[in-house]
């Protein structure tokens, strides 16, 4: 036992003496959490809009004021006329232009309806879509205010409730993904590098000739990373809870247990890579391209899987992070228990076992 403890102590020395890597290991999650918490948002505010009001009557002016008073819109610095709206789009100074034709108040009074033009820069389709919805909502609201005694125009009145995340904060969505990414980084990338380093330097041979069993060597190498990554997870959760108010609605014990499962899965992948490669460079390349990239792109971390083409949706099934994300989003955001995520847990467990078996077998063959 003390043999084993000595081994683990040595591993910690390695980790703590490589300051740069340590900084990246612990600095990266914090920086990313801050970026995702504060900067990376899907919410849309302060859209630069130009309103060309060709009527300039009392009613149209009130409409303009109402639009600009909303937090979503902000008047562009430069005032445009119809002919040079395009220039504004090209320069990127405006995202939307609203054109109110002549005789707005008069037509509204006389015909009971009037048309306004809404031009959006649709290079970013979602922003365009959202801008249009916001504008429509304000305009409809304005029409209702204009004639408070009228019967309601809307026949079907939807009463919408945003479940789980009423403020539509994107950080709530990103924190689970961040956890998956960090775990992959620390567990898979770092272990594959540290094991191949022993191979490169030649110390692995000495260890193999020693009375230590191969299983002890591997466990000794990965245990410190398991501890570190667990610490990483807990600190991300605490930071997210107290800085960004990201809730853990379900059971914390279950959440940590699932994290542990994913950690073991990532460690198994790291070991697998290290048994297949002999240089740190290759191990790093494979980990980055084969593990980290899919974890970012194909797990549903940032981009919803349901929007992807079928081929990629199939590919996403073999990305462990996809299942892990479904589990921890369920636990953290929806507050569900194991009865809702047992299927995903089972798949993840199966994957982990498979990776473990393959890597153990590979490691023995390499002897």
């Amino acid at each position: 036992m003390s043999t084993f403890l000595g081994f683990i102590r040595k591993e910690f020395f390695h980790i703590f003496r490589d300051r740069r890597t340590l900084l990246i290991l612990f600095g990266m999650p914090v920086v990313q959490l801050i970026l995702f918490g504060y900067a990376i948002r899907n919410e849309i505010n302060d859209v630069q809009v130009t309103i060309v009001d060709q009527s300039s009557d009392v009613v149209s002016t009130r409409l303009v004021q109402k639009i600009l008073a909303s937090p979503y819109f902000e008047a562009a610095e430069h005032r445009h006329y119809v002919g040079d709206i395009e220039r504004g789009f090209r320069r990127g100074t405006i995202k939307e232009a609203i054109v109110i034709g002549p005789g707005f108040a008069e037509r509204l009074q006389r015909d009971g309806h009037v048309t306004i033009q809404i031009l959006t820069d649709a290079t970013d389709p979602n922003t365009a879509n959202t801008i249009l919805s916001y504008t429509n909502a304000i305009v409809t609201d304005f029409a209702r205010d204009y004639q408070p005694l009228a019967g309601d125009a809307a026949l079907i009145i939807p009463e919408t409730r945003m479940r789980f995340n009423p403020e539509l904060k994107s950080v709530i969505l990103f924190v689970p993904g961040l956890i998956a990414l960090i775990l992959m980084l620390v567990c898979a990338l770092m272990t594959s590098i540290t094991i191949t380093r022993e191979k490169e330097v030649g110390t692995m041979e000495i260890l193999l000739v020693s009375p230590l069993r191969p299983s002890q060597i591997i466990i000794g190498k990965v245990l410190p990373y398991l501890a570190l990554s667990f610490l990483n997870v807990v600190s991300i959760l605490v930071l997210a809870r107290f800085t960004f108010n990201v809730p853990v609605r379900g059971s914390v014990t279950l959440l940590l247990a699932e994290c542990l499962l994913f950690i073991v899965c990532a460690l198994a992948l790291g070991i697998l890579i290290s048994t297949r490669t002999s240089s740190q460079q290759t191990a790093m390349m494979i980990s980055l391209a084969g593990l980290l990239l899919p974890t970012v792109i194909l797990s549903g971390f940032i981009f919803p899987i349901s929007s992807m083409p079928d081929v990629l949706q199939y590919v996403s099934h073999i990305v462990p992070a996809k299942w892990f994300l479904r589990i921890i989003r369920g636990i953290m955001i929806k507050g569900v228990g194991i009865e809702y995520v047992w299927k995903e847990t089972l798949i993840l467990t199966g994957m982990t076992l498979a990776f473990l078996v393959i890597s153990v077998r590979n490691f023995k063959i390499r002897l």
């Binding site: 409409l63 090209r90 959006t120 959202t130 009228a150 019967g151 945003m162 981009f303």
Partner: protein, 352 residues
């Protein structure tokens, strides 16, 4: 090495462009129809006919529907109260309950927008067909939307120019920084130092191939974008390559600078990775820069990736000319001069 340089970017371009989409395609819906009236049937039909929504199940109660949402089977619950049909007939309006899974706030917003629009137009239709006459008819302001540059709301059109930037960046920064460090690791840099080659010749000789390589990569990427994603090139191709040339000098300079700070390829890779990730996250590739807080927007003033993505999108999609992107181009030129001179000075010091 060659397959990595040419095949990887192509694969990345394809996978990223198809995967990196916030496009909301099929929204899964479970319906609780307590009304079971012709009106409620009509509404359900209308919803699934829109193409955005797919009715995956009917739930007997709101509780059952909620279970379905917890399991992740349904993204939206449409609850129709029993009095819905009667209300429509009698008072000319009826309300329905919509519950949207808002884990992903952006998607939830889009779902809400789509559903509201569908209900509004159904309302209009019902009014006309049924001839429901409301006393004292309300005024209507009809908004007539025009979506410029990307009227089909294709997400790839938006993402591909940005992804091209990311790919070109990888080449410029990773390969150049790792290549120079590699010379250090192997020791060939000492060898070169004893030859009469001048320092600036060394640097130009080292960076020029990567500069050309990245531009070739960009050309290949543009061709693929054209063929596979039907991406337009409204503006001038010449301008795109011109700006790319300047931008690459900035990134190569950063790569060289990283290589002077590190001794192993691994360190170089880690540091390059660290910077690139932060730059990309802030660049507006995934999320609009305008939604970011002021400090992030200020940081972006020093972010070459943000400038280049912005220029690429506007030139390629809206047809912006040099005049329109002048501020961005000027910033990139300033960066290029500053970064290259800093990197070269530091390189000289380290080497000699």
């Amino acid at each position: 090495m060659l397959p990595i340089i040419f095949v990887m970017p192509v694969v990345q371009l394809l996978v990223l462009s198809f995967a990196a989409t916030f496009d909301v395609k099929t929204i899964t819906v479970t319906v609780v129809d307590n009304s079971n009236s012709p009106e409620s049937q009509r509404m359900i039909t209308e919803l699934s006919a829109s193409g955005y929504f797919e009715i995956v199940s009917y739930s007997a109660s709101m509780q059952e529907a909620d279970e379905s949402m917890l399991r992740g089977d349904a993204q939206m619950i449409l609850g129709i109260p029993s009095r819905f049909g009667r209300d429509l007939q009698r008072i000319g309006q009826g309300d329905v309950q919509i519950i949207i899974n808002a884990e992903d706030g952006a998607t939830a917003g889009i779902i809400q927008a789509y559903s509201t629009r569908i209900f509004a137009s159904l309302g209009q239709k019902l009014r006309m067909e049924e001839g429901i006459i409301v006393s004292n008819p309300p005024v209507v302001i009809i908004s007539e939307p025009r979506h410029w540059y990307n009227p089909g709301f294709r997400y790839t059109t938006y993402m591909v120019p940005g992804i091209l930037v990311v790919l070109v960046t990888m080449i410029g920064m990773f390969l150049s920084s790792m290549n120079v460090v590699r010379e250090k690791e192997i020791g060939t840099i000492e060898q070169l130092n004893v030859t009469p080659i001048k320092k600036h010749q060394f640097i130009v000789g080292k960076l020029l191939p990567f500069w050309l390589l990245a531009l070739v990569e960009l050309a290949i990427g543009l061709v693929i974008a054209r063929i596979v994603f039907d991406l337009p090139m409204v503006g001038s191709l010449f301008l795109v390559f011109g700006v790319a040339g300047v931008y690459l000098i900035v990134m190569l300079g950063i790569g060289l600078w990283i290589s002077t700070m590190t001794n192993t390829q691994q360190q170089a890779m880690f540091i390059a990775w660290f910077f690139v990730v932060i730059f990309i996250l802030l660049s507006g590739l995934f999320t609009p820069v305008e939604s970011m807080p002021l400090w992030a927007q200020q940081v972006n003033r020093l972010n070459p990736i943000a400038y280049f993505i912005d220029v690429m999108r506007r030139v390629m999609l809206t047809g912006a000319g040099l005049v329109d992107v002048l501020p961005q181009v000027v910033s990139l030129v300033v960066f290029a001069v500053v970064v290259i001179s800093l990197a070269v000075r530091r390189h000289r010091k380290v080497v000699s």
